[in-house]
């Protein structure tokens, strides 16, 4: 176990792009989905519709668990699991957080290459975003417990590149 504020934990979060976010539904069923996140002032922020399944689950059960793989650093033999408490907020996150999202997912050199290569889909993406269920919202997530877990073989081999493991 480690404290969420541990420098090793914070460094691993900086190396991670996607969080696997697991929540519990009102009828006690598991749900998990990959989501973008950014860290800001000790919290993690995730944009999502206020009526998305993740947001509805958090509204009922604020405890959630997240898994990070540190994919920016390439291969890793471990993942980071955070146990957290989350709250659903209406509207977009603070501008600071929006800037972090833009820098991380849209404006990095590789992100720009992906964006420009798919510029013919920008309009349909805009329509997709306009469909957001319940209107724009975000989760403010406060980590409570951090733990590094060993990564089983194929995922470890494939993070950051294809290994050909079958």
């Amino acid at each position: 176990m480690a404290a969420p504020s541990d420098p090793e934990v914070r460094a691993f979060l900086r190396q991670s792009m996607v969080a696997l976010v697991a929540t519990r539904s009102a009828n006690e069923r598991p749900f998990i989905t990959p989501l973008w996140f950014v860290a800001d002032r000790g919290s993690l922020f995730i944009t999502t519709g206020t009526d998305s399944l993740t947001a509805r689950n958090v509204g009922r059960h604020p405890e959630m668990t997240m898994l990070f793989s540190g994919e920016r650093a390439g291969r890793s033999d471990r993942v980071l699991r955070l146990r957290c408490t989350a709250t659903v907020q209406r509207g977009l996150p603070p501008w600071r957080v929006l800037l972090r999202i833009a820098a991380k997912y849209y404006a990095s050199p590789r992100a720009l290459r992906v964006e420009l290569g798919n510029r013919d889909k920008w309009r349909i993406r805009q329509r997709y975003y306009q469909q957001v269920k319940g209107g724009p919202g975000h989760l403010r997530v406060v980590p409570t417990v951090a733990e590094f877990l060993p990564q089983p073989g194929n995922a470890r081999d494939r993070v950051g590149g294809r290994s050909g493991v079958r």
Partner: protein, 125 residues
């Protein structure tokens, strides 16, 4: 991410993600354990409508007959995001997967719901 599509959808047929299933870049399992939702990284093997996963036995709870959700996903940037989610009951497999060198506890999922998405394939639904 995580918007519910009506007019525009990124949902695809799982068979269109065969390369992802053949070579899972990242595989994660979620389940509810004593009123907490838990997640573990797993090793996934998929093929012929069979979804199997292996967890390290010393770190995982017994998942026999539990409802689990397996997510195999890829891609950090918007138009690279794709994945598959398999919800179902986990059943223990006694034998090890062929070619495996790591000792893992293997399960097969009896699927109840399978979803697949590919943001590069976004289109009017």
């Amino acid at each position: 991410m995580n918007v519910q599509a009506r007019g525009v959808t990124r949902d695809v047929d799982p068979s269109s993600l065969q390369d992802l299933l053949d070579h899972p870049p990242r595989a994660t399992i979620a389940f509810v354990d004593r009123e907490h939702v838990d997640v573990w990284p797993v090793r996934a093997r998929c093929g012929a409508d069979m979804y199997r996963f292996g967890v390290r036995p010393e770190v995982a709870a017994d998942l026999e007959n539990r409802e689990v959700v397996l997510v195999i996903d890829d891609g950090p940037y918007f138009f690279e995001l794709r994945g598959i989610s398999v919800r179902g009951l986990a059943k223990r497999i006694d034998r090890a997967e062929p070619g495996e060198t790591e000792v893992l506890a293997w399960y097969v999922i009896e699927p109840r719901r399978i979803l697949a998405w590919n943001y590069a394939a976004m289109r009017e639904g």
